[in-house]
Subunit: 538 residues, 2 copies
């Protein structure tokens, strides 16, 4: 697909730059913008129980119309359709990006290299359903015949964060008498913490790694196997893998209870709806709940693919990101859900967005002429209000995405308002306060306002709603990349650290073997740290 | 104390701006700087088992010498001493900032309004020691005579994050058969989650609120009291308070098992070493461990007060922050501890730093002419590497503070290297990779490098070490404010949202009382959200 090499040479990009200058004028302050007639009607959208309000963003009708022009110039819709159709849009790795296929229930085929990928995806889903059901009804048990009551997911990054987010969000639906634990970091403390909370005989370990060579995951798997052996258990009856066909985790020489496949056309950070999320979430919640979650993601996929730009929620959210990033100059974006079950959303989107869009090179291999990617962070509200909202209101401004849930999972009344209403009083007031600001002669009590935010509402915390929310962020992320012209599916930026770590690991091994090994080959700073590690003190 | 109104008019500030321009030159790339002779020796410091390495920051000897000049021009040491001596440096609230007094074991008096504050502080410590000991030996029990095995801390923001950080960091020392839980958010889900994990009869609730009017904390306390009554317990035998003398939480009309005092000269986010942290941490770990932690904080306080600028670790760290913020233009700062027990450090420092320094006004009430405050975020390594380090290496650069622990709490050997060594291979490699970068003809695999970081090492995860780390960040934060000339102890920026929320809460109450109440007085956007809340769907 032909795309211009330089963002700054696109005519509408130039127009946006020019128009953005107007937004430093006092009369473009949000306190005026939000009072315009029909502000909310013009700058909000609703679809399938998902509401997106960008009325408190620093935009006007002209901005939006230029941004839609940009969307067309960058062929966003066409690119999204190509992605869903299995084109190899991950050009640097010559791969498709078919996470949407993992939740395709349309019955339609999706061809990749002339082969329909759907039969294998459907078969994997069926395998998951069957396996989970057998665990739940006790047909599959551990080596001592006991029901599985604990599931430990061994995985890191994309094999961890998405599943963690969804399992937290849907905790209220976990009625299978199974607790879920996550072993991600190689730090031995994590392992110690988990084994203190499980019972070996009733624990099922799920190793999630596409290549089955991820250093942290393999180190933790080795620990888990030793632990099982110490407890007199047969690891092959307590371990399942989610991995690529033919990887060391899918090798009959290393027998496991069951193995589920990952495909190279679904990247880690987009893999929650594949077996990566499917296996642990189906064990934890039941396959039916996982499928409801998938149906929610599919609904939002269809919305993203079929809605025209002007009605397309993730696409508009992506345009707003670009506006904030490249035209208003914000480098950071906070995500603040007013719902504790969504507490792991920000860490997941942190990975999804920053690993996808923290790039400086176009799909075609040219240097980007504008910065891409925002730094994402967030905590649930109201906690965030009592933590860093001082800076949000009176320090360096950054855009915020607020998220509210209309129906709570529980309803307690505490004095005159319910806790949920208390939460909403805050959810409603913060975007207003950030936008309006407040004059005060005492400069310490002056609020400049003009701080942009969006508000997302979802009806409830059902599996479908969580699915829509996840798919919204996935689509928003790839739309952003399509605008910048970057590849949101590779991650070469993690390679250099790994390569250097490998050389250091070799030195450590040498020293473990030969006590008199000195680190003379290393640069002085590295040598200092290696000496500190081995001396055991400063 | 006289300080210039404008940062930009300070001569050394101008010199720093000028010198900073040189750092865009290719020959100032970190890959050259770190190879200079004695780089590590010149740009690192060690004190009391705390090592601070800024050799991978984008600084040279001239930068440091100008920064030390700035430190002197801004009288950083004098201000720190004034703070520790009880001067009312929180001018906007006419208060002292005496968190350091809460860990003063020197025997010296500290006078505030001509009254020595130490006797009251020492008495509070003694009360905590006595109370914790009686709980541990069963002399104090709940209303059914059962030992307390669960402690729930009800508090938010500064009454939560610091204690949470320290309790996580020191979890390995918790040998009192007491589990600790934190109830912060008003979101009812948190309450439900905690009551599912405790036993009412053996649970002690600690309400932490200086004013005893914090909306979230009071709503949660009311829930806790109802819960205890439902379970047939006497709340006054299961509830203690940490609050100001004379607050509604320290009122004989509302009897509680015990009440501990907070002082208006210690702000929430600096209060871990006061009764705020002292009561829960002493119950969880034993008072002795808490005192060891205090001794660590005191050590670093003394270092910060007594060391000359050129040898003062928190002061230098603050200078580096200012250099990165105001001269090199970085707006964000990540904190990446390679130790899972430190996983709650970043959320705590996020509050400590962003609430202290997210300001735009000087102590004297003038608008700042330079931006202050950085956005702080972070996750433990190596998790962070598998999440957002793509952006760190190839996207918009941001400075990182790495933290390593020399001695692990546990030692497992996994194949040829231990898990702890694996962690260190990564801790060592990341700052190097970020600094050096790597040439590659394929731009997708090109690493620009020149990305600054510091590395902190601590000997172990002992209470003393954690105390030093906490005090390091507290001192660094106030030194930053002293440079900007801002007040790190007030937080007026949280008031506007609260005021608007209060109006919305009133409307919700009216609607709860009268079903036909419409929200006509509200602006249209607010009305839309209130209608959505009451209609229960989109």
């Amino acid at each position: 697909m032909h795309r211009s090499l330089n963002l700054t040479s696109i005519p509408v990009w130039k127009n946006l730059k020019k128009h953005a200058e107007n937004f430093s004028r006092p009369d473009r302050h949000l306190k005026y913008l939000i009072k315009e007639n029909s502000r909310l009607e013009k700058f909000s959208l609703k679809c399938n129980g998902f509401f997106y309000d960008f009325s408190r963003q620093r935009v006007d009708e002209k901005v939006m119309s230029l941004l839609f022009e940009l969307a067309k110039a960058r062929k966003l819709k066409e690119q999204f359709i190509s992605m869903m159709n299995g084109e190899k849009i991950n050009t640097s790795e010559n791969r498709a990006a078919l996470h949407t296929a993992s939740r395709n229930f349309s019955g339609n085929s999706i061809f990749l290299d002339k082969k329909d990928v759907m039969p294998e995806i459907i078969k994997t889903r069926e395998n998951i359903r069957e396996f989970a059901s057998k665990v739940h009804n006790g047909k599959i048990t551990g080596s001592t015949g006991r029901h599985f009551n604990h599931v430990v997911v061994i995985g890191i990054g994309g094999s961890y964060l998405g599943t963690k987010f969804v399992s937290c969000a849907l905790e209220a639906f976990a009625d299978k008498d199974i607790e879920i634990h996550f072993l991600s970091n190689v730090d031995i403390h994590n392992f110690g913490n988990i084994v203190s909370r499980i019972e070996a005989g009733s624990t099922l370990w799920i190793v999630v790694s596409k290549s089955y060579t991820t250093a942290e995951t393999i180190a933790n798997t080795n620990l888990a196997i030793s632990f099982m052996k110490e407890k007199g258990l047969d690891p092959s009856k307590h371990l399942i893998t989610v991995t690529s066909k033919g990887s060391p985790g899918d090798d009959p020489k290393n027998p496991v209870l069951s193995s589920f496949h990952m495909f190279d056309f679904i990247g880690g950070r987009y893999s929650v709806s594949s077996a990566v999320g499917g296996v642990p979430l189906s064990l934890y919640l039941g396959y039916d709940k996982f499928e409801q979650f998938l149906k929610g993601t599919e609904e939002m996929d269809i919305h993203s693919k079929d809605s025209p730009c002007e009605k397309n929620i993730p696409l508009i959210a992506a345009l707003i990101s670009i506006w904030n990033n490249n035209f208003l100059g914000y480098q950071t974006q906070a995500i603040i859900p007013y719902a504790s079950p969504l507490q792991k959303l920000a860490p997941h989107i942190q990975q999804l967005s920053m690993e996808s869009n923290g790039k400086s090179v176009t799909q075609e291999g040219h240097s980007l002429d504008e910065p891409a990617g925002a730094i994402i962070f967030g905590e649930p509200g109201t906690n965030a209000q009592h933590s860093f909202f001082q800076l949000a209101h009176q320090g360096r401004p950054f855009p915020i995405e607020f998220i509210g849930v209309i129906k709570p999972q529980y309803n307690y009344k505490s004095k005159r308002v319910t806790n949920h209403q208390e939460l909403w009083a805050n959810l409603i007031s913060q975007p207003t306060a950030l936008a309006l600001g407040k004059e005060d002669k005492n400069k310490a009590k002056y609020f400049p306002g003009n701080r942009p935010s969006s508000t997302i509402l979802i009806n409830n915390l059902s599996p479908e709603s969580i699915g829509r929310l996840l798919s919204f962020y996935e689509a928003k992320t790839v739309f952003e990349a399509f605008i910048w012209g970057t590849n949101p599916f590779d991650q070469f930026g993690v390679e250099l650290g790994k390569a250097i770590a490998s050389g250091i690991r070799n030195e450590i091994e040498l020293k473990n073997e030969q006590k008199d090994h000195s680190f003379e080959k290393m640069d002085k700073i590295t040598k200092f740290y290696l000496d500190a590690l081995f001396s055991g003190k400063l």
